[in-house]
């Protein structure tokens, strides 16, 4: 099993972590179109409480978000193979109402499938799975 990356895979890994950062910031800034466009046209975002498919549903979800939030991702594991890739990363979501105090919302794991398009890497399928911290700390 090979554990080292060639230059192409290293560049893919970097590009996919940047895509993830743009996903976070676009949602946090209420930029629905930019956020939706981190996905393919038929891209899917799943969580225990929601399922969205396609740019129109995704954009509507972003624009409907009533409370300022901050998405933060760390611990990226990326594997690319030609024009497809998978990523797992840890996500933290904070609530930050304007003028109010920051509060921790949730911690979880993103499990992603991506494809390379003419406009760069896009999410094809994202699953967010919250982690039960109270359970994992014991």
């Amino acid at each position: 099993m090979s554990t080292s990356h060639g230059f192409g895979q290293l560049a893919d890994t970097y590009d996919i972590t940047e895509l993830t950062a743009r996903y976070n910031r676009a949602f946090d800034d209420g930029e629905g179109r930019a956020w939706a466009e981190t996905f393919t046209e038929d891209g899917v975002l799943e969580s225990p409480s929601s399922h969205m498919r396609g740019h129109a549903e995704l954009m509507a979800r972003c624009l409907a978000n009533p409370i300022k939030v901050a998405h933060v991702t760390v611990d990226f594991s990326v594997r690319s193979d030609g024009d497809s890739a998978t990523q797992t990363c840890t996500g933290m979501i904070f609530r930050a109402p304007f003028g109010g105090h920051l509060t921790y919302e949730t911690l979880g794991r993103y499990t992603d499938k991506l494809v390379r398009t003419a406009d760069g890497w896009k999410f094809q399928h994202r699953i967010f799975t919250p982690v039960d911290i109270s359970r994992s700390l014991h």
């Binding site: 590009d15 940047e18 950062a21 209420g30 930050a96 003028g99």
Partner: protein, 138 residues
């Protein structure tokens, strides 16, 4: 679409510089921290205002680092654009145990390549809770 090896190396070097910035401040190493800036570098923080030049930055770090006036900084979600000897970076900063508790914000950075490597010419930190609410940003 993908970066050249040189550009990717620049981006990794800038992320490394950002890590040095965080750790030097945490360790109250004022010279090393101020050394991540150019001689006339500026730190512009919504929390403390603008501080210009290495001497002022050294004094600021010496005064504040290790006190309860600042917290511990973690950065992630980097997006970087490199244009020859200049670069811009945006990244998310999580400040733990700061004067306002835990906060999340954004660094918007301008950098230049020097004989000693990349250095910040301008860093702006904006805590999320001071940004405009989404409803007025659309």
């Amino acid at each position: 679409m993908s970066d050249t090896l040189e550009t990717l190396a620049d981006k990794i070097a800038i992320i490394d510089l950002t890590g040095q910035y965080n750790r030097a401040f945490d360790e109250a190493d004022a010279q090393a921290w101020a050394g991540t800036f150019t001689d006339d570098g500026v730190l512009d923080s919504a929390l403390s205002g603008a501080t210009t030049g290495r001497h002022a930055l050294v004094a600021m770090c010496t005064e504040l680092a290790g006190t309860d006036q600042v917290g511990h900084v973690i950065t992630t979600d980097f997006t970087i654009s490199v244009d020859q000897d200049r670069a811009v970076q945006t990244c998310t900063g999580v400040i733990l145990n700061g004067p306002n508790g835990d906060t999340v914000g954004r660094y918007d950075d301008q950098l230049i390549r020097t004989a000693d490597g990349w250095r910040f010419t301008y860093r702006k930190y904006t805590p999320l809770s001071t940004q405009q609410p989404i409803s007025s940003a659309i």
